[in-house]
């Protein structure tokens, strides 16, 4: 009996060899690209010295992390980073699913053109985006002031001085730039759904909207859960270009635009200290990591199918 068991195990294992063969190139790449450099993380706890190399440099404990917390701005930058990310997750997910469903259900061939168009903003770098935003919002020459507010008889607005507008502007820019990319992901999932499900629903008299809410969205759940979990992991990171370049680093807007990344950048740019930037990255990753582990555990409790790992 014992030998029989090992035999089936062996046989079973043999069955998996092709799978491991297929997985090998990818795993090898991860090993080289991601895991070989990983010990470099110790740099966050060291005072880097080129003479001694990364691994030979002296340990300084948590000193490199100090500057992240020893500031009265710590609360503001953490709050901004997290809140913006939460709003981005919600807004961008809903928008992407909405657009993906529309595109999937469209019969006209023009939908290919639409898809290309909305992908356009994703292809433009944030620096260029910041120029375009400036083109619209500049006080003296901007379109909004000159071509919209003026003809309507309204006073021009100094956009870069008024912080109340910026949470909306940033959410808008983020959605504008990301919708094309994000909707492609959901589009793929929708196209993967077996069409026969819809056909039988239609025969049962389900309306278009019923089909969308009763079939499409429930079947998208695994993708939504996974993407959200992954986004949670990056909740302490912010898109540097979006928060630094788009608001043109304007001081008047800091209370609503300063995030962990922009805060760190302002100091580190001139300090040029590798250990400290490494510490900032490690801190951001670690918090994200803990949050994902936590949420993954919760998800696993509710439905193990949806868990990341």
């Amino acid at each position: 009996m014992a030998s029989g068991k090992t035999k089936t195990k062996k046989k079973n294992f043999k069955r998996y060899i092709p799978l491991y063969v297929m997985a090998f190139p990818g795993l090898l790449y991860l090993f080289i690209n991601n895991y070989l450099p990983l010990p470099g993380l110790v740099l966050a706890f060291k005072k880097f010295n080129a003479k001694k190399g990364i691994y030979g440099s002296p340990f300084v404990g948590f000193k490199n992390f100090k500057y992240l917390f020893a500031t009265k701005d710590a609360f503001v930058i953490t709050r901004n980073t997290i809140l913006y990310n939460l709003v981005f997750i919600i807004v961008n997910t809903i928008l992407a699913i909405f657009v993906a469903i529309l595109l999937a259900e469209m019969t006209s061939r023009i939908k290919k053109a639409y898809q290309s168009f909305i992908l356009l903003p994703y292809m433009i770098s944030m620096v260029i985006v910041s120029y375009l935003v400036f083109g619209f919002l500049s006080t003296e020459n901007g379109f909004i002031n000159n071509s919209i507010l003026k003809p309507m008889g309204l006073d021009p607005i100094s956009w870069y001085m008024e912080k109340k507008y910026w949470p909306f502007i940033l959410v808008f820019v983020s959605a504008w730039k990301g919708v094309g990319y994000n909707c492609v992901i959901y589009l793929a999932s929708i196209l993967g759904i077996d069409r026969s499900i819809y056909e039988s629903a239609a025969i049962d008299g389900a309306s278009k909207w019923q089909q969308i809410f009763k079939i499409t969205i429930p079947l998208l759940k695994p993708t939504i859960v996974m993407l959200t979990l992954l986004a949670v992991g990056r909740i302490f990171y912010s898109d540097f270009g979006l928060f630094y370049q788009v608001p043109q680093n304007q001081g008047a807007l800091f209370s609503v635009t300063n995030t962990i990344d922009t805060y760190v950048y302002r100091g580190l740019l001139e300090l040029g200290d590798m250990s400290m930037s490494s510490a900032a990255g490690l801190y951001q990753s670690l918090v994200g990591f803990i949050l994902v582990l936590g949420s993954n555990l919760v998800v696993k409790k509710i439905d193990p199918e949806y868990a990341l790992f």
């Binding site: 304007q250 001081g251 040029g272």
Partner: protein, 540 residues
């Protein structure tokens, strides 16, 4: 022809030598000293050059054996990336240095955008870079990260860099010492600046009929003006051209418009009277800053500035070039009028409103350094020495090959070679100001032949030299404060500087924010380091 060039080069080298001789504190007494030194010392002097010659001979012998010369890699940056003709220039360089130094030299030119990151990576990973410019990379960060070699280790500097000591005055060289250690040698350039150079387009002045000649002439040959004169001009300009902005304002009121010493590289704790006092004070509470804030506020109220001044990051000269701005402020030096007129695309009149000033970091802002990882420090130091003294090497490095990249005019200046222009030039790095010694080679057409002399005089005649010349400070222990200060400044500073808030209120907000960010601790740290430095160097 060749002979003529050789003699010209020779005369240029001697000229440069004379020039730096003038620059050194007391050339005549030096010579006197040489005459009276004892026999023993003459012997050491001889053995020093013997050592250098011996090292060259050894390398040549080694190359003969192995069939390959060892190579020294020199890194610096330019504005457009690796020049197309670089391989050719490197070949010519090596052909020459194999003879004179017994080694090959390779220039590695990286564009300005990538230079900082690329160098950091190469210096951290042990790739071969022997000599490098610390511009962009930063002198202090380079020392901090342990990239650089102590040049005086084992007396190397004395043995192999005698030429540099002749070219660079001892006090300038000492200005590059950090904690008493010499990690780099400064490029020979203008260390002083003439603050507050207000540049106005000639055509606009003509339009308001302003008579420049009624102003006295400053030492640099520019019209000398007061702020009242300038305000008067601005008012007239504004009246005459209501559709144009009078001034392209920048956040440079302290760096280029004052003699406040941004000691240790930032304005969070400064020397307000750097010539006389070593007391660190907060510039933002000072009258100097208040005056500037008031001035900018008045300009802004009068409608001289663009309402987008805070957000529009276009450079001031580009704005003037565009034709919708009429004036800007910068700092000047000999030959500046030609330069700024070129940048602005129109004739500019430079009003000299300030004074000449040499800040504590002016000399040590970006010295040339040797990688601590260099395989043959002696060879590298000999190359460094040659960069300051050898006109052939410096010519190749600054201008490329004669006949291919440049040609010599009849007056001794140079210009693009026949058939070459700015668009198709294969070697024109355009970073003369970071080269070790650009005055040992030709001058570009349009510049005076004695530019080197003028710059040396300009440095020597500087009236306001910071007492703390050469002081540097490692602020990594104050990284938290520094980061917080930087954020606080970015939040409250620019709107004061650009005159968008009422000065009193703006300044008090800024000062309060800086205080809250830990300015007092930061300044105390600076003061402590400065006091220690002063005691060590016998300055009081």
């Amino acid at each position: 022809m060749k002979k003529k060039i050789a003699s010209l080069l020779l005369s240029m080298t001697t000229m440069a030598m004379v020039l730096t001789g003038c620059g050194s504190s007391a050339p005549s007494s030096d010579q006197g000293a040489t005459a009276t030194i004892k026999d023993g010392e003459v012997a050491t002097a001889a053995s020093v050059s013997d050592k250098a010659a011996q090292a060259i001979a050894d390398r040549k012998a080694e190359a003969e054996k192995s069939g390959k010369y060892e190579k020294v890699v020199i890194a610096f940056f330019d504005w457009t990336g690796r020049p197309a003709g670089l391989d050719r220039v490197n070949e010519a360089l090596s052909a020459y240095t194999e003879e004179t130094l017994g080694l090959d030299v390779e220039l590695m030119i990286i564009d300005s955008a990538a230079y900082g990151d690329d160098m950091k990576l190469m210096l951290s990973s042990g790739e071969q870079v022997d000599l490098f410019s610390t511009c962009i990379l930063g002198y202090n960060p380079s020392i901090n990260n342990g990239y650089v070699l102590d040049l005086e280790e084992n007396g190397m500097f004395d043995d192999y860099c005698g030429g540099i000591k002749e070219k660079i005055r001892a006090d300038y060289l000492d200005a590059c010492r950090v904690g008493g250690v010499l990690y780099g040698t400064p490029p020979i350039k203008d260390y002083a600046i003439e603050t507050c150079a207000v540049c106005v387009g000639q055509e606009y002045l003509d339009a308001i009929g302003y008579d420049v000649s009624k102003l006295p002439t400053s030492d640099l040959g520019y019209p000398r003006a007061t702020w009242d004169d300038i305000n008067d001009i601005y008012a007239q300009l504004h009246e005459k051209f209501p559709d144009k902005y009078v001034m392209a304002i920048q956040d440079n009121e302290l760096t280029q418009g004052s003699s406040v010493d941004n000691i240790a590289g930032d304005y969070f704790g400064t020397l307000l009277d750097p010539q006389n006092s070593l007391k660190i004070e907060d510039v933002y509470e000072s009258d100097i800053f208040k005056e500037w804030a008031q001035r900018a506020y008045e300009w802004n109220q009068a409608g001289y500035l663009s309402q987008d001044a805070l957000t529009d990051t276009t450079g001031a000269s580009a704005k003037v070039k565009s034709g919708s701005y009429m004036a800007m402020m910068a700092c000047c030096k000999p030959g500046y009028k030609t330069q700024i007129s070129g940048e602005c695309g129109r004739d500019m009149v430079v009003f000299d409103v300030g004074e000449s000033f040499m800040s504590s970091s002016s000399v040590s802002s970006f010295p040339w350094c040797v990688n601590q990882n260099t395989e043959d420090p002696v060879a590298t130091l000999q190359v460094l020495n040659a960069l300051y003294t050898d006109s052939t090497i410096e010519t190749l490095m600054c201008w490329g090959q004669e006949g291919k990249d440049f040609k010599v005019n009849s007056d001794g200046t140079i210009t693009y070679a026949d058939g070459v222009d700015a668009n198709n030039s294969e070697y024109y790095p355009n970073v003369l100001w970071l080269m070790p010694n650009p005055y040992v080679t030709y001058v570009w057409q349009g510049d005076p032949l004695d530019l080197g002399q003028q710059i040396a005089d300009f440095n020597d005649n500087c009236t306001c030299k910071s007492k703390a010349l050469g002081f540097t400070w490692d602020n990594t222990d104050y990284a938290s404060e520094y980061t917080a200060l930087k954020n606080a400044y970015d939040e409250y500073g620019p709107k004061v500087v650009y005159g968008f808030v009422e000065p009193e209120q703006g300044i008090s907000e800024l000062v309060a924010a800086l205080k809250a960010a830990g300015l007092d601790d930061y300044m105390a740290g600076k003061q402590e380091a400065l006091d220690a430095w002063a005691a060590e160097n016998g300055i009081n």
